[in-house]
Structure formats: C-alpha cells, structure tokens
Symmetry: D2
Subunit: 147 residues, 4 copies
C-alpha cells in the first residue's frame, strides 16, 4: 500500500466517535481493529445469524463489512468538515464463506478531492487457516459533513 498522509491528525478518534451511529454494523457484531491513514481493518466471529440457506456467510454480510472498511479507509484521508458516501461498489465473490471468523480490509487506492478509489478484501478463518472469499472496489464520493 502507498504511504498515505491524513489531513486530520484526529482521524482515529473521529472514526471511533462515528462508530456509535453505525447501528447496522452493531446489529451484525462487526468491530474495527486497525485504523491507519488509508487502511481500515475489522473482524467478527461468525454465528448462525450471518448465514444464508446453504450454511455459508451471507453475501450481504460480506458486502456490508466491505462497505464499512472501504468507506472508513477513505474517511481517514478526509480533511475536517468532509465525509464520504459510497457511489459505486463492485464485489467479486471468489469462494463460499465458511469459517469461525471473518476479516475485512479496506484500503485507499487513489484519493481525490471529489472521489476516492478504494479496494477491499474479505477473508474467513477456519481452524487457523485463512482463505480469501471476496475482493471489491468502490468509488467513494466526498461530501460536506459538518458533524
């Protein structure tokens, strides 16, 4: 990953404050475990509520944790007063998700003043073995955000 510089030294605190409003993230049980300039990582333990009818992780779970980590990765590079919203996300599901834990990593590929290009990856861990189950790309739109 490129070595990005944040325009707001308090980006980690700012993200942690915003997490309280991430109700859908909490419903799922997902947590951020690493917040750097241009990179955000999160994980959660998998249980029945995250599954679809074949017994694998629901594609919506994977999409949600990609959207969260890629969005916050972009947000780490925003100056004070700016936020981001997802304009487009495209997800490739490489493998069925079967495991005890799920991990998502969102990264900035190219920051900009109007849009930020990001990439994301999702892994599951089963018996200590990590397997990638999805790759994604998203265009994040920069918005005014006074909060």
């Amino acid at each position: 990953m490129e070595n990005f510089q944040s325009k707001d030294p308090n980006f980690e605190t700012k993200i942690k404050q915003r997490l309280s409003g991430q109700h859908f993230m909490h419903l799922m049980g997902f947590d951020l475990i690493d917040i750097q300039a241009g990179l955000v990582k999160g994980e959660m333990m998998l249980s029945q509520k995250h599954l679809q009818q074949y017994g694998f992780v629901h594609g919506g779970v994977t999409a949600t944790i990609l959207d969260i980590t890629m969005g916050f990765a972009a947000y780490t590079l925003m100056p004070v007063g700016k936020g981001v919203v997802t304009a487009n996300i495209s997800i490739d599901y490489l493998n069925p998700g079967d495991g005890e834990k799920i991990i998502a990593i969102g990264e900035v590929e190219k920051p900009g003043s109007k849009m930020v290009f990001t990439t994301g990856r999702v892994f599951v861990e089963k018996n200590g073995i990590r397997k990638q189950i999805a790759t994604a790309r998203a265009v994040m739109a920069v918005i005014e955000a006074s909060q």
Copy 2:
C-alpha cells in the same frame, strides 16, 4: 420485463422453504412479498438498526436486499437440482436512503445454463412518496444444489 418461463413449476414453494435458512435476512427483518418467474420483490419497515452514522439506510442493508432479490429472481428460473450464488454484484447508490419503508426488486435480464445476468432496484418510501436510492447488476453463477 421479458416474460420468463420457470423450469420448475414449484419455484414459489421452493423459495419459501429456503427462506427459513436465510438467517441474515431475518436478522434484518426483510420479507419477500412477490415471487414470479424472473422477478422477486421484497420489503421491510425501516428502524434505527438499519442506519449508519448520518441517519440514512446503511449501504450494507441496500446491498443485502439487492443480493437476496436478485439471487432469488435467478433461482426462480433454475431447473430442479440447480441453485445460484452471486459471482459479481455492482451497486450504484443514487440517493441517500431516508424513509419509513424500503423496497427491493430483483429481475432476470438474461438467463443461462452457467450464469444468469440480473438487475435490481431499491426504493424508499417516505410520507407515501417513493424514491429510488440504488440500482444494481449482478452475475449469478449456476451451481449444483441437491437441497
């Protein structure tokens, strides 16, 4: 929409049976309200648990109900013994989601024996006014599915 013909006359029953295994869908509170050959529609009332930090519907909610309705729309056209999984989904977020109710419609654009091309739309309703908030396209991969 094109007038599609299902290869399994029991497709509606088959989908309803599968819904019991859709744990993540139930966690969200989403329900299917219309199941036709090549088209599936669902909806749910919105509450705080579906929101992100700006007070709008979480992008992950929108992605999940798109994935469900597009996947089941493809599934209505599967012969007995076949199922579908999402290979790629691409979602454009047109407007912020602000409303009392959210509706998703998934439709088949082009069926095939190995992959099915589908489209999806998501709307919110507020004070009786419906507004589209997302459009999506997905490539569904056909798999063997004995269940």
Copy 3:
C-alpha cells in the same frame, strides 16, 4: 427515460464540435445519430476490423461505444464550462456480437453536480433482427473544462 433539461441550450452543437477530437471513435468508424438532453445514440456498420478471434465483435469495441454514448449523454446535461470523464464503467456481456450493424444508446439515470450516473445498452442487427449484446452502468465525474 426521465425527461431531462439541459443547462446549456447549445449542447448538440457543443458535442458535434467535440467529435472532431474523438480520434479513437473515428478510427473505429462510429457516429452519433441522435443527441438529446440525457440520451445519446450512435451506430456503425461492422467489418472485420471490429472482430476478435471467434469472429464476434471485440469486447473493446462494445466498451468503447458504451463509454462514448454514456459520456456524451452525461455531457448534454453539463452547464457551460463543465465536462465529464468516466470514473467507473461496469459492462455485462449478455450475448456474442454477430451482425452487420452495431448500435449503442447511453442514458443519464441520475445527474449531479459532482457525478452523473448513466446506463448504456448495445445491440447488433443481423438480417433486420436486433439483439441486445451488452448492458452497462457508468459513474461519470464532473470536471472543469474550459474548452
């Protein structure tokens, strides 16, 4: 299609002037045949130079005429002094392209001051029968463009 209003009454003239700089479009032989506010249509006769090794239209030809018609469709809605560039394009190839003529239609789905969401479709005609071979979606970024 929604009934869009252009912010520049000379949009058709402006596009025709820009076409002279579309060198790659001319290399292919593609021409615009309909320019409306929010919708642009073009076509060309197919010959060997447009094909790939299976004898079908090259995916790059399809991608190029989608990019052109979707980009100009967005451009019809730009005020004086603004232009658009493609940020993301996602193309589904529904059928192999086999025919005498190819037609592309680009349309605006949702205009905005920073980005414009567009959709596109490509058809081939063979013996008077028209068949759709691709569908696309693109996010166009609005830029300053003095020319």
Copy 4:
C-alpha cells in the same frame, strides 16, 4: 501473484496463433510482450488515433487492452478445448492517460471450471516515468472452443 499451473503446456503457442484473429487489437497497434501461466502483459506506443477530445488516451483504448490481457491471462489456464469470453468487466479510471507508451497487465485472481476471476492494471509512461491510470476486475466465462 499466485503461482498458477497451466493445463495446456502449449498455451503460449496457442495464444500467439489466436492473435492473428484479433483484428481490433491490430487496428489499435497493441502487442503482447509477456505470456505466462496466469499473467499476460502487452504494450503499444501512443499516437493521435488513441486519443479523445481532451488529448488523453480514450477510455475505450484502456478498456480494450484490459479486456485483451485479462482474457488471455484466463485463457493461459484453460485445458485444451476450452476458451473464455468476458461476462463482466468493471474498470476504475484513476488518472488521465497522458504519455508516449501504454502498458496493460492482466492476471488471474481465482481460476475455476465455469468462471475465472481476473484483475488488470494499465499504466502510461512519459519521459521514463510510469503512472497507473486504471484498475479493473473481470469475470471470464469458460466456454467450449474447439479451435
């Protein structure tokens, strides 16, 4: 990149034979310069014919050389009697393309018997400095191909 194993030891010869039918690739002047199992690289010198009205590389040129290198990267892993066609391609345009030379690299991310997930990158070189202008992902569908 993962170390992929081709199922056909003659994959390089097979691709070189197919290039003669790549008419649109020849119209552009693009050549493959590296063919490995799971990775294909190509390049060309840029001239006026590759440009759009702002003087940058046409998005259709970028899309075409991505489609070619990603498709052939997938093809290197096909057993005898199988080919690939693009099902979906999604391209992010990171920077305007301004340079003397353009380079595309297509790589397999996840091979499969029905579909192959691939990634691609495009760079321009100007005064000896290389800059990435696009990233892409594509789902390639495996087909029967006797030729």
